[in-house]
């Protein structure tokens, strides 16, 4: 059973009853629960569908941050074979908030990286909840340099609340590191495909998402600042995050309309965490299609497409 979000009470109730019934039946073999379970399952599915076809922006933010949602390392494990994790920025340290390395995607050699949030307390601490320090972005630059040198396409998975706001990060030039990473994305002579799989948080996200194609999962969010951050600045009250989420237009559907992203990847009913493998496969297929569009394109054209795509954003609203 997944952990439920606060707005999923109705689903939780039905699924709770189903689990109870099944537990009882397991103890008492003579109990016939088939019809009852079927009935409840139907109700649960309907309740889930009712919720998920009409998620509010704030509810989407919660789904995007769901603890069981697949993260970058899950995608790498599901979609990349022959994976070799690479570490370090060659300047100061290894930052686990951005993970990456070499591998094969559908058989073809690639460089892959992403923000990793972690899945339990220990791994969350290790990966700093997906909030990178300058070393993370400098490692990203290094990996993109590798991609250029060996002519490998780059795939990035975007999932961060934002770059880490700490003394050490500032001391070592967080702003410069982000700027250089965005810069590197935009000068890459190989295809760069980004998938926003959870949270696309501000500069910390764009640093590895200035891509030829930006894909986004159906319930992912992508914004200039977190809803909580915007609420505390604009309303001076972080409790107004719900309003900020709505006002800022952070959903995949809004961003597609604004031509900021290229494609929405549909999620299974109830969100990516309910059918992780299916969700990651759909993402892989979308990445594969996107990469296919750049097959055989020369370096100049790839770079030009990326730059013109970003310059065009906002001019066509």
């Amino acid at each position: 059973m997944p952990s439920y979000l606060d707005f999923e009470n109705s689903v939780a109730e039905f699924e709770g009853k189903i689990a109870e019934l099944k537990a009882l039946a397991a103890e008492n073999q003579s109990m016939a629960i088939g019809d009852e379970v079927k009935n409840l399952e139907k109700k649960a599915a309907k309740a889930l569908a009712d919720l998920y076809v009409n998620l509010s922006p704030w509810q989407k933010a919660q789904v995007a941050r769901h603890p069981e949602r697949p993260h970058a390392l899950d995608y790498i494990e599901a979609l990349i074979t022959d994976f070799t994790l690479l570490a370090g920025d060659r300047k100061f340290a290894e930052d686990h908030a951005i993970v990456g390395g070499l591998g094969r995607f559908k058989g073809e050699p690639v460089v892959v990286m992403g923000h990793e949030k972690g899945h339990d307390t220990a791994s969350r601490l290790k990966h700093n909840f997906g909030m990178a320090r300058p070393e993370g972005y400098r490692k990203a630059v290094r990996l993109m340099d590798l991609a250029e040198r060996f002519g490998l396409p780059v795939i990035t998975f975007i999932d961060t609340a934002g770059a880490y706001p700490g003394i050490d990060a500032e001391e070592r030039g967080q702003a410069e590191a982000i700027a250089r990473s965005t810069d590197r994305c935009l000068s890459l002579p190989v295809p760069l495909i980004s998938a926003v799989i959870g949270e696309g948080g501000s500069g910390g996200a764009i640093a590895i998402a200035a891509a030829n194609r930006v894909l986004m999962l159906e319930h992912a969010i992508y914004s200039v600042i977190s809803p909580e951050g915007a609420a505390s600045i604009l309303w001076r009250d972080s409790q107004r995050a719900k309003d900020a989420a709505t006002a800022m237009k952070i959903t995949a559907q809004d961003l597609k309309r604004l031509h900021v992203i290229d494609e929405i990847i549909p999620e299974p009913m109830g969100g990516a965490h309910r059918a992780r493998a299916q969700s990651m496969q759909a993402t892989g297929d979308a990445i594969s299609r996107a990469l296919g569009e750049f097959a055989g394109m020369d370096a100049g054209a790839i770079k030009k497409q990326r730059r013109e795509k970003f310059l065009a954003i906002g001019r066509t609203i």
Binding site: Q174, A175, D183, S202, I225, D243, I250, L255, G314
Partner: protein, 299 residues
């Protein structure tokens, strides 16, 4: 009642004369020492308090006039952009905030730029002004930065950016964030054309502006004491729950940590910029006059 407040407010501001026109005999207080200075004297000293050396905010037109030879420049035409693309409102409508900022500042948005010369060398200079909605980077400012950099490209000249900004304009949401890669494309165009791009960091510079074009210059100069960072001090304090060290994120700190080349008092900026541009564009050295400042060449 709210709609009345929102509707009436901008009009009252016009009646009261919201424009920045300060009487010549007005006194200005130094935020550091409390010393009182005549506005006229402050203006004559490039808005630096004479005794304390505190750098007050310098209006963009004064900045550009001081920078270009003879105070003359041709303004860069700023592209029109869609207004309020998200129809955003928080406690007030974004369009009302924008209207008010335009009335108060007498300009369309946060970035102004000019084409001219410095000691005879062709140059395009832009000013991103904190006085206009915190110098925030929205579509207008982003497009203005791109247009200014492209003006330098068209004139095959150096580009100087005086930048002061709190970061993204939140009322434009993701379209504000997209100005980071957009302006970076323009920086790359300058770089590929072999044209110098010099950033002058003016108090304060934070957020998405620091994390894009403000940290991508060939040379980074800063005015003394300017706050420069990615996250603002308040955000960091809330994250780590401790007081920040003295001088943290100040210009001198960034210089000591390798992010800024030089901290230059405003009075010496013009000379420094001229000297750097002449070396980078392989122009002959200007004759040095006795007091250490440079003579202005006729051509």
């Amino acid at each position: 009642m709210n709609w009345i407040k929102n509707f009436i407010r901008p009009r009252i501001q016009t009646l009261l004369g919201g424009k920045r026109e300060v009487a010549e005999n007005m006194w200005v207080k130094c935020p550091e020492t409390g010393e009182m200075v005549f506005y006229r004297d402050l203006e004559a000293n490039l808005f630096v308090i004479p005794a304390s050396g505190y750098h007050m905010r310098m209006p963009p037109d004064a900045r550009l006039k001081h920078f270009f030879d003879g105070g003359e420049y041709e303004p860069v035409a700023m592209p029109q952009v869609p207004v309020d693309p998200l129809t955003f409102r928080d406690e007030r409508r974004y369009t009302d905030r924008l209207k008010e900022a335009r009335q108060k500042n007498g300009v369309e948005d946060a970035v102004q730029a000019g084409i001219g010369t410095i000691d005879g060398a062709p140059v395009v200079a832009a000013v991103q002004d904190f006085a206009f909605m915190g110098g925030s980077l929205g579509m207008a400012a982003g497009e203005a930065i791109v247009a200014s950099m492209r003006a330098a490209l068209a004139h095959q000249s150096a580009f100087v950016l005086f930048v002061s900004s709190g970061g993204a304009r939140m009322q434009e949401g993701i379209l504000s964030l997209m100005q980071m890669p957009r302006t970076t494309v323009a920086v790359q165009e300058l770089r590929e054309a072999g044209l110098p791009y010099i950033v002058v960091l003016v108090h304060p510079v934070t957020g998405g502006v620091t994390a894009s074009y403000a940290m991508l210059g060939d040379i980074h100069l800063s005015e003394p004491g300017a706050l420069i960072g990615f996250a603002g001090p308040r955000v960091i304090e809330q994250t780590i729950r401790e007081k920040l060290p003295d001088g943290f994120q100040r210009a001198e700190y960034l210089r000591d940590h390798g992010m800024v080349d030089r901290v230059v008092p405003r009075g010496e900026l013009r000379g420094e910029l001229s000297r750097i541009i002449r070396v980078l564009t392989k122009r002959p050295q200007l004759p040095e006059v006795k007091d250490g400042t440079l003579a202005i060449a006729a051509s």
